[in-house]
Symmetry: D3
Subunit: 314 residues, 6 copies
């Protein structure tokens, strides 16, 4: 079995199958068109240039199709790049499927939904429980397939559900240490906080923003969904406003997209849990790519910082 594309080093030769993620056409300085391909497998992605692209090439090499590539790993402005010597589209006799190349959450969908269902089952407040269950059910299919974001963290298939599962475990561990926390609110907040992404984003693959996503954002979308769910279920208690507030405020500050800052204790903690899990995810993935004694590349979503892997971390 071949190793993942991100594990090749500059100077190595590759002869492997990869999935085309995006294609952009350009005109080279010699006046001829070329294609910039982003190729991916489960481990990550690499840029490749197909020089002197023919009109046929433009038809054949399109996103979400598989190719067999032979070439060399080079370094271009500090990033690895694949220099293509030979490329062909995969055909039905090649032993590969698209799913082989897509990164997915490290947990099965069934296991995730089981776990979340158990957390919902633990809730004692019926209003909170019913609204949460209703909305999860309404969007369950998308929820189990969507990424948590288009980039930065959990940006893979089922990333949204996996982010929620990790946060639920974290919420439980924290609630064990600080018993004054309302677990129902915390669990419901975790489950609902990013559920609006199933409307904000276009889908699990080649994810972009929808018009509603651009103009309203997942936060306002979900506040609206909670309001409609409560009306549908005939629930009028203060739990509705509090749940809307949890979702509304989970980005923490107005300048980060929350029109109100957290004003309920569990909303404040939800903001923390969300951040902590997202950062652990980003840090682990960035540090995986470097050796002890090295710095990671700058991580945009962490204030553009580079992180150091101590030499004693073997």
């Amino acid at each position: 079995m071949t190793k993942g594309i991100i594990h090749y080093e500059v100077g190595e030769q590759v002869d492997i199958y990869l999935l085309i993620k995006t294609v952009t056409k350009g005109i080279a300085s010699n006046g001829k068109p070329f294609l910039t391909l982003i190729l991916q497998d489960k481990t990550g992605e690499i840029e490749a240039k197909l020089w002197d692209a023919s009109p046929e090439d433009e038809v054949v090499y399109v996103p979400e199709s598989i190719v067999k590539v032979f070439g060399d790993i080079n370094n271009y402005r500090g990033r690895t790049q694949l220099k293509i010597r030979n490329i062909r589209p995969a055909n039905s006799s090649d032993p590969v499927r698209i799913a082989d190349f897509l990164e997915v959450a490290p947990m099965k969908q069934e296991d995730m939904i089981d776990k979340i269902t158990k957390y919902i089952f633990e809730m004692k407040n019926p209003n909170i429980q019913r609204i949460t269950r209703h909305l999860l059910k309404k969007y369950q299919n998308e929820f189990l397939e969507y990424p948590a974001a288009t980039k930065n963290h959990h940006e893979y298939i089922s990333g949204l559900a996996y982010h929620v599962v990790s946060m639920l475990d974290l919420a439980k561990a924290i609630a064990n240490l600080y018993p004054s926390l309302d677990r129902d609110l915390l669990y419901a907040g975790v489950i609902l906080h990013d559920l609006g992404k199933v409307i904000e984003l276009s889908g699990p693959i080649s994810t972009t923003y929808t018009v509603a996503g651009n103009l309203l954002g997942h936060i306002s979308i979900m506040v609206n969904e909670i309001g409609k769910a409560a009306e549908h279920l005939g629930i009028t208690g203060e739990e509705v406003v509090i749940l809307q507030h949890m979702v509304l405020s989970h980005h923490g500050k107005a300048e980060w997209g929350s029109p109100k800052p957290p004003m309920v204790k569990e909303a404040e903690i939800l903001h923390y849990i969300d951040n902590l899990d997202a950062k652990m995810n980003m840090l682990d993935r960035a540090l995986e790519k470097v050796k002890p004694g090295e710095f990671t590349e700058k991580i945009f979503a962490l204030d553009n910082r580079s992180f150091y892997k101590p030499t004693f971390h073997q």
Copy 2:
């Protein structure tokens, strides 16, 4: 007829009826309780101290009751203050009613609703028209009575409706000059933009924030209302998202409470019209109180600026 309370100058004596707006109890340095009264009439308000307040005084002098006061106008730290020499609660034989002391919009409720109805009637897009009419009707009573804010601008009875009427006229004048503007969107945006205040605020008198107002804010409340109205009316067109976006973005920037900035032309213009009308209202009221050649007091909502009234403005 007596002149309004804000037109008395330091040194003058008053002997008039006023309405108690708020009462706060304090303990003086001699150890005796005193009451700080905010007294108002239609023209504005003044602070007064009732020293050596008896327990009976605390019972008698409560908000929303009328008093007859005899005293002097003093200056305390740059603000006028009423020094009470004599005070008594008004009784049934006094020729005064609460409504005589409350500032109201300079236009009758019937005239305002007529004018707004005419603007709705002019709309050509049925989806926009139906949602706007539905929501205005749902909250019409409160809409016609509420202030536009607890302070800063249009903070009087029917201030909300009057602000909307002024903005509609401004919207029309601007749309006449820039014909590319979509009048339906602009009028609907004006009518709906602050309608959530009827849920955010407690009512037309002694106005405070409700719990939902504090935790969600009028913007998110109204986005939700539009969503529910559309569902109720069976409207699914893009107009729903655009109207929600108009309301969502009318504060202009994340740090001013809009989770998304305006991303539709009419939303940008709505933000401008709202600002312009609010500022004209603040400026006119502040400049009314000073003479040519003087500066107004600092206006908090205008970045704490003082404004100068030129000497040639007689």
Copy 3:
């Protein structure tokens, strides 16, 4: 008649006359020089690359000369680009003049000056009227030809005068709704606010900043001009300081270039009118280029926002 250059789509072929706006020489990766041409007509501009440029090419293809180009419209990094197949300089037998390619205000100079003169004629305060008339007369020729800016808004021939005319109409419409406004101040402020640009900028074509423009800016330049005009006309009233303040403060905030914020009501409104007209101009031009259901490109001067054209805007 040919359609404007910005209306061609990727894949189309062009065979048209265009004006060279700027030329930049580069060295291609094959070591040979190439020219990056910005070509324009009245509708806008497009980038083109002339590969393998000979020394003669560098002499022939210079700014403000007309060329006949045959080539294809391509897409390069999200922007259209013209791929030149054939190019030649226009000669005296070609039926084209430079003026055919320059964007100009959509109103004749005579009409604009007539309209502005009428507004000046309406002024009642003689000091304000005389200073305004004196300065407009002093710089009338440049005022009628200059753009309002080097980019962002009204960046075409006579853009400055057109911006002023639009603002005057807007000022009048607003003053009709808010009668407390001093029309004299407002009209004078509109006419003078950007007049310093005739000294700050180099001229109507290929506009750059002068040394005085860079070191002082149009605001300080104009404050000085008002001071000198008043001295010349023997005017000493407070109107001089107020007019200087109107110009000084019209950018609204220190960080936007106004050493004092607006502290006179009409100065505050002038800042609003200026912004509103500039934004309408930017928005209309950006939205013209996209179809319903699309977002515009990011507009730098509008906080880098993209604007959406609703699908129901046919």
Copy 4:
């Protein structure tokens, strides 16, 4: 047994022992001196005014002495205040000791040091373990008695040690969920991060800043201590720099006092754990004072937010 001072409501009468925390002399408007006393017991503190204070009063009523007070609970500008009717210093026959009035951590010093020692014992990296043990031992007495801060959070006797113990438990829970974390670094970071406070602050009671605290701050003080400890122990590995970095960066950002932001994964997590425990402490104490359906007073260290206690939180 009497209830704590913060549990009295406006209108109640008190007749209890309290400890004087601070005394400030003022001159009343009648020209006579008065004393502002901050009185405390284990539950919190209250302000009291002693009007017409005699020279003897100034001698008798000094910080860290106990008084018997008889008086009424009033409300002054939204805060409760004790109106003294009668006051006398406690004497040897009164059944009270200073320790009865001081808030202390809810865990015994022995238990805390045992727990921390166990965590140090779990460390596998000898360099990290030896530096941590050396510094804890060097400052153990102060560490077990000092508060974690002069205000905001854990501002009571042994607050520093208690904050550390809570953070260690939190660190362990998080490390269980994210096994890539280096527990040695995390535990050492927790134990050392605020240890410099034993030099920055003056002591456990009436805590103020020392000169070194003001001019250097606990972060730089501790970085220096780690450097000296390593020199003393002859340790030169990269662990020294990493531990210094953990302490240096634990405030997260330059503007919050960390000259370098976290650039090691465990440093980032340490910053989170510190924040989470401090905020839980602040929130619990603020929410304890209000009833369901109420907002807390504004909490300065939480961006001046008020927090709401839901009505369904009985």
Copy 5:
């Protein structure tokens, strides 16, 4: 001879002449009027309260009159305050004049003007020299009497001229070390940079802002003056724009009131010299009031910092 008012300590008794700087009337909690007097001598000022002020007191105790006061120095909220036991207006037989109480620059006006004249004489560029000499001569009387500011630094009689003299010496010392600096520009910039204050401020005593000062500021006023001076002298060289730029940019940044930042080397250095001299003045005066081992009070114009006087600074 008596010692200065700022050198009395809490507990001391005073029986001295002082000048009334400002008077503010208030109403005490017993309902009686009182006067807050700011009393000053050459060394500084102190607040005093005159309780139970009679109407005659209000007539007698007015700004810029001298009083004989007998009373005690107290501490009120961390500031010394004079508790008046006895006060009377000074009369013609008292051996005091107003000038005895006003702080003045520590250098004679003749010496300052001589020194400045010598610097102007050293200039080699005739355009710079003539403009500087013309403007200094035009405003010489006010220049020699005005303070440099209403507060913060050099806020005493002739403070403006003294600030300029100190800066000239500093400019010379720096130019000696960095010979590439243009001394003419630097000296002219120093002399002109704050000269607009003679129009911005009301005068040497009880200094306030004029209307032109408020609406334009001393920077724009002076840019205008340089323009008019150049026109008057028939000077058209680039020196005019550069001198205007030096004045324009000397606050360093837009948000500090300079519409353009320094863009000429000498303008950048002028900004530094101005700051350095102002800060030395503030620091020396604040540190004079404390003993070694103490911190000064917070200095607003130095970012509200307290400064420490080391114990080894005897």
Copy 6:
């Protein structure tokens, strides 16, 4: 003798020796590798492209080796670039040494250390003198060779020592004018403020940041060094904390890397002197490259400003 590389103009031909500073490999659009060389001599550096680089080229052309280049000066995106026609490595028979190409401070190391020693000799406070002398001696070799920074200012061999010498002269000149300044503190602060750079940076050539430099920064490194020096010398006076504070605060603000702002007068002045000398160095070097009447390129460390060289500066 050849002129320096930065003095060649576009269009000129060069045939000179240069030192390779850095080499980066790229892949051209024709698929072939190329090398981007930064070539330098004492006057500065220039970029050059070596197209179609062979594997041998990659071995031969490495940093810190000398080459003979024949080629043309071109302009690429506003910057000069050297177009290589011919290149070869220098060999032992070429009359050049590496030191010929490195920029060094304009003062000999012996003269610098003599001068600094004289300043230390002038100190009167033995604690300050001993700590300063001890640390200078400990790191003297590196101190005399290191640059003051990797870029922006004094970024050449011995730049650190030269920056210190210039600052000492400036400190003396300022102390002469403001005699209240403590010269010992000021001189010691100047000498120690950047000494931590000998640990933060990698060395005098091809300077980068060390791990300790990245994670701690030169400020914290030096605070630690002062602490260890004091312990080593048995000095415990307040001078230790004050010296640590001087170094700690010399960047002036938290957001510029100083965890505490200057809180001692000499610390404030040190911050000024440091800035002034660094800015003079940047400005002189940027202005050297332009002619009168031109603007410099944007200087990043001066807020990205361009500076103008007046036409009368011949």
